[in-house]
């Protein structure tokens, strides 16, 4: 969204965080699987959990295309409107995922 960190190009930020983000996603997947296996009924029968999983898939698809777009970005060029919009969308999606994750404990 180009709201912060302008000392680096988008390509540089992407390079800096790509591997760390992917590693964190694997940890989330592994720990999420363990928690689901521990209480499958509580999770799988909960409609908020299902909504969260749909949001995760949609977010990962958008983030994948955003990542590919950033890989092709020229280091000295500012972000285009499409990149800023996709970044905003991914941020909103992650807020939604975190919100749903917390609400699983209270409702469903």
């Amino acid at each position: 969204m180009e709201l912060t960190g302008r000392e680096w190009s988008l390509a540089r930020w992407h390079q800096r965080f790509r591997s760390g983000t992917i590693a964190a996603l694997w940890v989330l997947l592994a720990t999420g699987l363990v928690m689901t296996l521990a209480e499958p009924e509580r999770e799988l029968l909960n409609w908020i959990f299902r909504a969260k999983m749909v949001m995760v898939i949609v977010t990962l698809i958008i983030a994948h295309f955003l990542s590919r777009r950033l890989e092709q970005a020229k280091p000295d060029r500012p972000a285009g409107g499409d990149v800023r919009a996709a970044a905003f969308l991914v941020l909103l999606c992650w807020i939604g995922i975190a919100t749903a994750g917390r609400w699983i404990a209270y409702a469903g």
Binding site: G5, R6, E7, W8, R16, A98, T99, R102, W103, A105
Partner: protein, 164 residues
């Protein structure tokens, strides 16, 4: 003195509302978690740089200028929502070991940050890429350790007491 404070919070209109409304506590907790995640994520960026483990070509002063405003806004929101959550069950939180540990750790995190900004950062050598003085590396390590412990204690509160 602490008893009268806890009683006043417990009998406050906002405390009673959060304790009784089925939607209030979960929504405030969602905002608390999101803001705390933002605090930790933004501080982690700076801490990894201080330790020399990442972003070594990003000068620390520039990084703190761009990141810390986000950290402070998120921290203020986390503190406000944390206070609201506390008001729903002040006696319960005050008697919870994980809660007390979290408060002590927050104070230690603040102390570590104050020493870094007032002593280490003013000592110079921060506006260059590459390795930083030992004081900066230690401050980064202490900070990330304390914040991980704060998150662990925060999660543990949820396992050791009912919210209201």
């Amino acid at each position: 003195m602490i008893d009268s404070f806890l009683e006043a919070v417990s009998n406050s209109a906002i405390g009673i509302y959060i304790a009784e409304d089925p939607m209030a506590f979960p929504w405030i907790e969602v905002v608390h978690v999101l803001s705390l995640v933002t605090v930790f994520g933004s501080i982690l960026l700076v801490d990894l740089r201080l330790m020399g483990l990442a972003s070594r070509d990003y000068p620390v002063n520039a990084l703190t200028r761009t990141i810390l405003p986000i950290t402070w806004v998120a921290f203020i929101i986390a503190a406000m929502t944390g206070g609201l959550l506390f008001s729903s069950n002040p006696y319960g939180y005050w008697g919870n070991t994980a809660f007390k540990a979290k408060m002590v750790l927050l104070l230690l995190a603040g102390l570590n940050m104050a020493i870094f900004h007032l002593v280490t950062q003013r000592g110079g050598q921060m506006d260059r890429p590459g390795s930083l003085p030992a004081g900066a590396r230690v401050a980064g390590f202490v900070s990330v350790t304390i914040w991980l412990a704060i998150i662990a204690c925060g999660r543990w509160i949820g396992f050791t007491m009912s919210p209201f």
